[in-house]
Amino acid sequence: MPVSAVPALQIDGVEMAFATPAGPFLAIRDIDLEIRRHELVTFIGHSGCGKSTLLNILAGLGKPTSGRVLLDGLQIEGPGPDRGVVFQSYSLLPWLTVYDNVRIALESVHYHTLTRAEMSERTEAVLRAVELWDHRKKLPPHLSGGMKQRVAIARAFAIEPKVLLLDEPFGALDALTRAALQDELLNLWSHTRRVETVVMVTHDIDEAIYLSDQIVVFTNGPAATIAEVIPVRLERPRDRRRMVHTSEYADLKDRLMELLVCGSKTAQAA
């Protein structure tokens, strides 16, 4: 099979249980999913439905208790330079400047593959792309939430991973900042050819529709699994304002509301 025919990520029967004092806690079960190259896929579901757990497994930060995940046909054994991660909590190192936070990731991942000059060039390019070049000497505690997450996105793109994983990256931001960052994400993705696939966890229906090629809807936890995979056929580039007046959008939103809001009244309290 040619490489392009292999799915970027293949998830086979993944199950994850955590040991707790009260016995094993089954977070997710029976996850089967194929994520195709050049697609942006979102995981959506209520808090505690295990979508972040699955993302952590893809990142290699957790090992599934059963099942396996293949990246380009090879089993994921741990974190790797082929995957970049953007965490919800930004996770910038507060004692390093904006510049150094990006640079250190590049130096660590591409120590043997890039020259110093190439690293400088790439650090500058990503920081300019997220409009933070003028703030490169600042320390993270002096940045707003939106700026911090821009640095985190720049850092993940700088290493040019095949797969970009984002864990509720815009959850803590206000609506205007969130929209701006969504567009920056799409822009960076379309201009960084080596970043083929994007997987993002969200709990925002509009965000999922605006960004995704596929929306993976999770059932409520514990023992959550995939309820449905919904393709989004809205043409790219998408226009936020025009998009909402299409029937495709209305259908998608209706279906998602049905799955997430009406189908899970009991979990609403959580």
Binding site: G60, L61, P79, G80, G84, F87, L93, I104, S108
Partner: protein, 284 residues
Amino acid sequence: MIDASSTPTVPRVSAPTMPAGLAAAGRVCVRLLVGLLYGAGAVGILLGGWLLAWWLSAKELPAPDSTLKVLWELLRNPFYDNGPNDLGIGRQVAASLLRVFIGFAAGSAVAIPIGTLMGSTPFFNRVVNPLVQVLKPVSPLAWFPLGLATLKSAQNATIFAIFITSLWPTLINTAFGVSSVPKEYRQVAQVFRFSRFRYFGKVLLPYSLPYIITGLRLSMGVAWMVIVAGEMLSGGSGIGFWVWDSWNALNLDRVISGILVIGMVGLALDRVFELLLRRASHAG
């Protein structure tokens, strides 16, 4: 007159204005004045308490005026040298500081690496922690005889006691700092594949530095207290010896002067670490 602050809609056309620089200078002056007043209050309480003690002790204790005269004489010429039995107070303090720095440096050089190991290796922590818990509450002076026996000199035994003193707070704080590196920073290091060396230098050390400095600050505080007692035991030189020597000469003016000097030096040492801590702290 109309109070300007209660009528915000009326533009203050003729309100007396002050140049910004002058206003700022005025604020600084006021702050200084308030600081001086607080300081005067503290001195007042000190002198009041002192006079009360003087009166209650049936004038056994020296009165403030005679002591302050003695202190002034001591501070006017702190570094005179009339042979080993008559050294200026500055030389005594310097001798004590030298011992503290040697013992403290040696103690820190041991405590920081061991604390780092304890914080990063649960196994090592479980082995060493009971030891630390047992030895920590022991007065460092209890180690003095062991120092005498092995190092054969009272001077070195004092330094040894300071060495032991400096271990515990640094050890415990370092171990705590290292073990509490947040998960998010560890995950960043994992995801971006930091080498052990890079993780140590760019994550673990910068994160634990404020904890380590806090440990050093506490160690230094205790070391400065222990040196006085240590030198009373060891004799020879140092501010502790000097205070005890003054007592033997029944010169309480000097004893109280010594207390004040010890206090001021201790304050200065603490301030140094406070400054270091401010520089190393990171509001995450």
